[in-house]
Structures are given as structure tokens and as C-alpha cells.
Symmetry: C3
Subunit: 398 residues, 3 copies
């Protein structure tokens, strides 16, 4: 039964019109809805194969490269797991954090690490505006390398979080919604509140809320963005969300009230982030090495955060959501009041009710990443999924 | 012939009454003698398969996670080798040394790293009382995760050294004894002297001597523990050793004299450790961050150690052992007088006589770890071993 | 057609008289020309298999160990890629940079990491005279371990750069020349200028120029070494180059003029290095920890370098080379004037013309390393290559 489902998914992936082959996965808004659906289908197929103890090894003798320019445990393990699932050996590129390489250095390094690479996963979200630029440079470099016969194959660059988007997170979130509400179709007309929440820390990236508002608006959802005044996201992503909402028949609204966003919401996603303007200033100061001003900025930002401690996802706030029981989402780790901090993004009782659900949400990420690699590295990924089903090699066993 | 032996071992493992499946390997004393024997049999089978160039790959697309909260080279490589042997990709979790996470953080992280994990190897022996507690928390977390459908499989937690036990070491040691003396049966009535020895360093963990006295007493051996006054082990482990000796018909004695312990010993295991009380105080000071007092403690402890420089395994001391040639054991690296330090645990000439034997002793560790993973991750590990033998896939070759 | 070529190469490798089995690859001059040719043939066969999407997995359940005692990205990824290509899991040994272990420590560690190891790749080029000595110690240790039954197999030690030689680089360079000029035969009588070039940094190892002059002289090439007065290489390597030139019918000349070396050259290899005497003094000061003197030495050395800024590979300098278009080579990264530094080894326009060629040059390295492992770990590597061709298992695909 579950395996019939894999067969169906393989056919859908095979029938989908996609232009992934020999490309990257960088920003969800650069891919068609059909392409995104195909990634979800491939991810589900890989999950089902895994659960049915069928190996998804499709590589024998290649490497996956990860480049984490910012700390990471969850995404690091997701990428490592995806690599292992497909049979790629992982090799981490550690450039040192302080270095922002460009030009010939990036071009050369991208080729030097890619002679046997099938995928390059990059997290780069410290400097606003840098992450996406860097990923594009790596992409252009391996493109040239492949075209010019330097590289025997063209590795796919996978965005593991940039300053603009966090596609492996938002796609895993979408998969979670799909499974929770039964189908992508069922998400039409559902309200999701993507809201800021208080955190005692500072400088959290904008890529999660930006990833959510730009992605969920494509599937006919009513996306309500809420944050205190001044906590703006990168303007470009707001415009994309608006455009997506118009195209899909969903909506995109903004408010300065958490209560308003939560009202009748089917889903809530309360999560802290730093104001766009603060991130811009921080980027400028990090670059110029003005450490004193950086400290002042942090102090100011934290003081400003502290004005909005009431932006906490409490039982009371959950009441006006749909039937009082909206689905709570978080990319983890959450700042849980009284658990991981004194005052945070979410009340302990709310978090505990949805704790296992947030774990399941995260559990899709390795398969989403593996699906992205599969879609970009194979001309006929649907056929490959069918072959895996037919090969029926044990994932665990002899 | 060697392969007949694998067939026999596979049958024995298959016939053994064990309750390993979907569980962990944390402390030897929480496992039955039958279970421990089955681990040794599986380890021997894996060794024989390896030597006969037969692949033991039983996983395709899973990961093994290692978490070393203390420095390690030997055990790190043993765990990496065991993972590779079985076909698991290794991913290290590096939390930073200073952090002692508990509660939700442990619970969440344990799940986040485990979506495709089959084994989690943990070394945690810096803070007395913390290591075993932490491993139990991780175990409970993945247990819940698996039960609740968060994890598609339940990774086994493998204790790679805690403050109470060092089961991969003691089981490898037992395997070494089994091979040296011909069988487990032959170990009955043999005397093993587990003794303290002088070292110019301080703060060495107690888990090796504790692992030895609690394990060897289960196999009818006469275990003589010797150390200077004050160099006590964790009291609980002494009680376990006493109980095991009573049950197995062996004995467990304690003395403050290295000579007495060595007398008529078939095996000697001279090895430095820190007094239990010192470790307790050290744990307290590390936690409170009292660095000045830590330095005083170290100074005192070293000064105290220096009173017992005569606790060195010399040729003279070896003379009264059985036929003057007891088997010398060590978990390595040993503090060798005139070689790795000015004055140490063992005289250079004694060590040199047994050097290759200690290397062989260590060589069992990767296979012991692999056996622990095999026993915990497969319902019918004996059947799996038989299948490996029948598959007869080359470990090296095409 | 390409696969016919693999068949031919496999036969050649099979027919070659080589003594690699159960040995290491440390210095090219300790291997016969036949052995070096066989490595090149095996590397080419592996490249062709790779390009034709045929898996070269020959191990199932072993590890490769890397030990980088100096920073590395390119060689690190080459070794990781070679390991993945052959099916070995990589495990890095990180000893800490300051430590120069010898004697029992090396002997023991070499065995402890090797219970399941098939290859140990070592880079050690910081202390003049130390790297090769260390590699020999590791080699002797695993040799003893294998002979004495400690290790079930004998890992090959692969020199990933020592103070005397850089064989994986020079062999990849030779493969690049072979492909550029059509055959090894065609290299006879060709002139290669191995010259010093200005760099704003200091302390670059001597192993690349030494590797080039000792290797290229074996294939009948006319090797012209050029550097400013005082920038001598290790004397022993000069003697080896002279001997090789006599034996092969090539030549080895030295000059203090870049122009002279470049005249009529078919190939130029302009690259910075530190004078042998400076490296000797630096080694002495690093050992004695005389940091003030180290700083003075660096200052002096940089000041001395600065006298030779005209040692830059410019368009003008390229004109008198053969037909004005000698092949430019570099081991990368190059110090490119106006790109990676203000004044460097090579003019931007020259580098850009050969940029992709230098990338291709580097691209052979993973396959050269894999070939070295194949030759040392298999009794009949030619037969193994033939089997890979016949097995025809997909490298990417199901």
C-alpha cells in the first residue's frame, strides 16, 4: 500500500514539467509551482522508501560538500543524512568564519572541491546581502567548470539558509502542512500567522519568516505577517509574497498586532528575528570591524526587543485561533519561557502540546534536501524513484 | 575452516536469549551474561568475516552519530571503523565542551540528529555523575521519538565511556582474555590484578578500573583490586563487583598493596586513576567555575600521586606473578617510564614485552562496537551474520 | 571507444612490473619509471570509468585516514574524493598542530587508527626534515603491525606533501602534461622552466619545485630551474634531478635568470618558495620556540623577497617561450597580481589565459591518489580495473 504510493509519486515526478536538471536549488521563488510540487513528491517518495526499508542509494563514489559559514546542528545533520541516504560521502569545507571570499578565490575553490562533487550545500546568512551573492558565484563557477570540461559532472548548489531564503526549512514546513491538513489542495484558504516573537537574543536571521511568506502565498493560503513596528523584513520578499498571493488566489496581509494575526488562524508560526535595518547596520559594522559600535547596536537592539515581551505565544493568545487549536510551528530551537530562557517566544504549555509535532516538522528536512539533490542531479528523477522501488534493496539488512 | 567458525558463532548468537533489540548498550551490568557472551560471539564473527575479506555492510543510507564530550583518538577511530564496517556514514556532533545540556535541549537535539541515525556513540566522562545521566536522557529521548513516530527507526545509544563504565573497552579486554586463554570457560579461577599505578598526570577517569572489576567478576575470575589509600572507586561499582563475584563463583578482593595483588596473578592491569573524592570535588569546582581552587586541587592531587611513585609495574614486580609471566594489559596510551614520561605506570622493558599484545587488545574494539550495533539494531542478529557469510561479498575487491 | 581505452589501460597496468603491493607511495624517486607509468595508467583508467558513469567502488567496510599537519583545502578534498571513489570512509586524525610526536607515540597511534584502514594520507611539511621522517615512522609501524598480526590488513601511507616531495601534485602535473602534449613519449626533449616567482608571503614549502625537477627529468625533458641567488632547494633533490636527467637523456640546468629559463620553454611553472636556508633556520626557531627571532626571520625573508618583484610571469616574459605560448602551470592557489595580491607570481592576463588549464591540471589529483591506493592495496590492480569495467555498476543511477 505504502509502496503503491511510491509508485504513484514516482509517476507524478516523472510527469512534472521541471527544469531542475544540471541546476541548483537556491530560492523557492525562482522555481515554478510545478517544480516545488515535484520536490515535495520526491521527498515523500524517499520518506516512504525509507520507512519501508528500501535503500535510496543512487550514487557510488561521489561526494557532497557542505559549507557552513554560520553555526548549525540541525541543518548540518539534515544535509549529512540526505547525503548518506543517497550514497554520497560528506566533506565539510571550513573556510574560517571571518573570511568573505569573492572573485577568483570563490571561482577557484568551487572547482577545486567539486571534481567528484554532486551537491554543495551552503549556509551563509551572517552578512545581509552576502549569502545569496556567494551562492550565485559558486553556482556560476561550477557551471563554467562543467561547461569547460574542468568538472566531469555539475554539482548542484543547495541553499541551506541565506539572508533572503531558507528553502530547505520552508519546504519541510510545507510538507508538514501538507501532511497535517491532508493535501496541498486543502491548504487553500487556510490562514497562517507568521509572527515575530520575543527572544532574549539578538541578530536572528530573517530567512525563515521570509521563506514562509513567499512560499505559503503560492499555495492559496492567507498569510498574515505580524511584527512590532520597525521589525521589517527585506522589502523585496514582501513584494514577492504580495505577487504570489495575487497569483494563487490567497492573500498576504501585514499588521503590527500578534492578536490580530492569530485571530482565526489555522496555523501560527511565532518566531523571533532581527529588524532588517538592524541587520543592515550590523553587516556594515561587522565589515568595518567597529566592535564598539557593534556592542552598542546589540545593546540597543536587545533593549528594543525587551519592549515587546508580550509578543509571546501563550495559551491565551491561542484561544482566538481557529477552534482554539491552531497548529503551532517552529523551525527549532524555540526560546521557551521558563525552559530554555526566562521569557521567550512561546509558553511552556503551548510548546509542550506541539513539541512532537515540531519534531515531525523538522523530520522532513533530510528528505527534502535529498529530493532537491535527486531533482537537480538526474534527468529523469521519476524514473530513478521507480527503479529504487523495483530494485528493492534493503536499507537495513543483507 | 575460519568460515565454519563464523557459521557456528552465527548459530550461537541466534540461539542466545537476548533483549537487545531497539535498546542501548550503556553499562555491562545492566546486561545478562548471555547477552554479553552474544556480543563477544558477534564481535568474533565480524572479525572473522573481516579477516576472510567478506563485507559486513548491513546498512545502506543511514548514519552513525558520535558525540565526544572529552578528547579521544582511539575510541573515535574505533567507532568510525565500526560505522564504516557496517555501512553507516559517520557524523560527529560537536556541542562545545563547556556546555552541559539537559532537559528539552537534550531531548530535542537527540531527535534532530537521529532522523536517519542507527547508532549514537557518546563519550562523557568529565563530570562525575553526568555521563550516565546524559546518556540515559538521550536514550529516553530517542525512545519517545521512535514511539511517537518522530523517528522512523530507533538509534541505539552506545556508551563510549562514562564516569561509571567503559563497556567497549572492558568488552574488548574480555575478548582479548578469551583469545589469550582459549575460552571464557578457561578464565574461571584466573586471577586478575586491577591496580592503580603512578602517573605524572591527574584526573584520569575511573571508568576503566570500574569496568574491569564489574565485568571480570561475572566470568568466575578472581579480581584483586589494589590502590593506595584514598584512591577509591565509585562505591556502587564495588558493590556490583562483590555481587557478581558471589554469583559467578569468582572473588573480589581489595588491598592497598600492588605486590599483594600481583602475587600469583595470571593477568595484571596497572593503570592510573584519580581518587573518587578528588573527581567529586573537581566536578563541583568545574561547575562553579572556581578556577583557583581547581589549580590547588590539581596541585594537591599531583603531590599526593607523587607519594606513590613506587606503584610502577616493573620487572621485579612481575616476578611473583604466575610463573613470572602474567599477561600485562592496558587500555593505552600507557605512561611508560623513560619513554612517554620520566616516571610512569610501567617500566619500559615490561611494556615492550607486551606492546604488541596491548595493540591486539585494542584491535578488538571496532568489532565489539560493531557487534553492539548489530545486536541492538537487528531483531535476528544471528541470522544477519549467517546472511553475510552466505552473501560472501568482497570487503576488498570487485 | 573510451571504454576500449580502459581495457587497454587495465592490460598495461596488469603487464607492468611493479612492486607496490603492501607498500606506500612516499617519494617518486623511490619508484621505478615503470611503476610511475602504471600509476598514470591506473589514474587515467579511473578517470575514464568515472566519466563513463562506471563505479570504481572496490572497498566495502574500510576507512581512509587523513592526517594534515598543515592547512589544506585542495589536497584534503582530493584525498576525500579518492577515498569516496573507492568506497572508503574518511576519518581525519587531528593531533594538534604544535605536537611533533615520535617513537612509541607514533608507533602506537599508527596502529590504533589502522585496524580497518586501507590508506593513510599524510601532509607534513612545516618542519624541514620532519615530514619524510614521520611518514617513514608511520610506514614502519603499520608494517610491523601487519607482520605481527595486530592489523588485519596493511594500510598504504600516501605522501600528501612532505618537505622533500609532493608526489600527488607532481604526478597530477605529469598527467596534465601527458594529456596536453599527447603522450609521455612526446615530452622527450620538451623544455620545462621551473622557476621561482615573487610572492608577498613567506615560508612556502619547497616540495613542489623539488617534486617537479626530480620527476620531469625522468621522462627525457629538459628541466631548467631558475631562482634568485640564495633561493636554493634541498641539495639532495638537485642531485637526484641531475642523475635522472643523465639516465633519461633529458637535461637539468640551473640559472639565476627567469628570462633565460623561459627562453624557448614549452612549459613554464613559476611559483614562489622559501630559500632552503631560511626553512632550516625557521625549523630551528619553531622548535626552540624563539618567537622574536621567528618574527625577525620573517621580516628579513620578506624584505629579501621584495628585491625580486620582477620575478613575475608577465606577457612580456612569455613572449620568448616556444612560439610565445608555453603552457603555464601552477599548483594553485597562485598569487595573481592585482587579483589576489598587489604584486605576485603571475600577471592577471597570463593567468586568465591558462586559468581553466590549471583547474584541469588539479582535476587529475583525486584520480592519481586513487590510483596510488589501488596500486598499493591490490596484488593485481590491472585485473581489478578490468573487473570494474566488466561489472559496469553505475556511479550515478540505480
Amino acid at each position: 500500500m505504502a509502496l503503491n504510493r511510491v509508485g504513484e509519486l514516482a509517476e507524478k515526478v516523472g510527469a512534472a514539467k521541471t527544469g531542475f536538471h544540471q541546476k541548483d536549488f537556491l530560492l523557492t521563488w525562482n522555481h515554478s509551482v510545478d517544480e516545488l510540487k515535484a520536490v515535495l513528491q520526491a521527498a515523500e517518495a524517499l520518506e516512504e522508501l525509507y520507512k519501508n526499508n528500501i535503500s535510496s542509494r543512487v550514487f557510488s563514489g561521489g561526494i557532497a560538500v557542505s559549507n557552513f559559514r554560520d553555526q548549525s546542528t540541525r541543518t548540518r545533520f539534515s544535509f549529512a543524512s540526505a547525503s548518506a541516504l543517497l550514497g554520497l560521502a560528506l566533506q565539510e569545507l571550513d573556510e574560517g568564519k571571518s573570511q568573505i571570499a569573492h572573485g577568483e578565490t570563490v571561482r577557484e575553490t568551487a572547482n577545486m572541491i567539486s571534481f567528484l562533487a554532486e551537491a554543495i550545500g551552503i549556509r551563509d546568512d551572517i552578512f545581509l546581502g552576502e549569502g545569496d551573492k556567494y551562492m550565485s558565484e559558486v553556482s556560476a563557477a561550477v557551471d563554467e567548470g562543467f561547461r569547460q570540461g574542468v568538472l566531469p559532472q555539475r554539482p548542484a548548489v543547495i541553499n541551506l539558509q541565506s539572508d533572503h531564503d531558507h528553502p530547505t526549512q520552508s519546504m519541510a514546513d510545507l510538507m508538514h502542512l501538507q501532511q497535517t491538513f491532508g493535501s496541498l489542495e486543502n491548504l487553500k484558504g487556510k490562514k497562517i500567522a507568521m509572527t515575530w516573537a520575543y527572544s532574549p537574543s539578538y541578530g536572528k536571521p530573517l530567512s525563515v519568516p521570509q521563506g514562509i511568506i513567499t512560499l505559503m502565498t503560492r499555495f492559496g493560503m492567507n498569510v498574515a505577517l505580524a511584527h512590532p513596528e520597525g521589525y521589517d523584513l527585506v522589502p523585496e520578499t514582501l513584494k514577492i509574497a504580495e505577487k504570489h498571493a495575487r497569483e494563487s488566489g490567497g492573500s498576504f496581509t501585514r499588521t503590527y498586532s500578534m492578536e490580530e494575526a492569530f485571530k482565526d488562524a489555522d496555523i501560527v508560526y511565532p518566531k523571533s528575528w532581527a529588524p532588517f535595518k538592524v541587520m543592515e547596520e550590523r553587516t556594515r559594522l561587522l565589515r568595518s570591524g567597529e566592535n564598539d559600535k557593534l556592542k552598542s547596536l546589540e545593546k540597543e537592539a536587545l533593549a528594543n526587543n525587551a519592549k515587546f515581551k508580550n509578543w509571546e505565544c501563550t495559551e491565551n493568545l491561542m484561544k482566538p485561533t481557529k477552534a482554539g487549536k491552531a497548529l503551532y510551528m517552529h523551525c527549532l530551537p524555540a526560546d521557551i519561557t521558563g525552559v530554555s530562557c526566562k521569557e521567550g517566544e512561546v509558553a511552556a504549555s503551548v510548546f509542550e502540546s506541539y513539541r512532537l509535532a515540531t519534531y515531525r516538522e523538522a523530520g522532513h528536512k533530510p528528505f527534502v534536501i535529498a529530493a532537491m539533490i535527486l531533482m537537480t542531479r538526474f534527468e529523469k528523477p521519476g524514473h530513478v524513484l521507480k527503479q529504487l522501488l523495483d530494485r528493492n534493496a534493503p536499507r537495513r539488512g543483507v
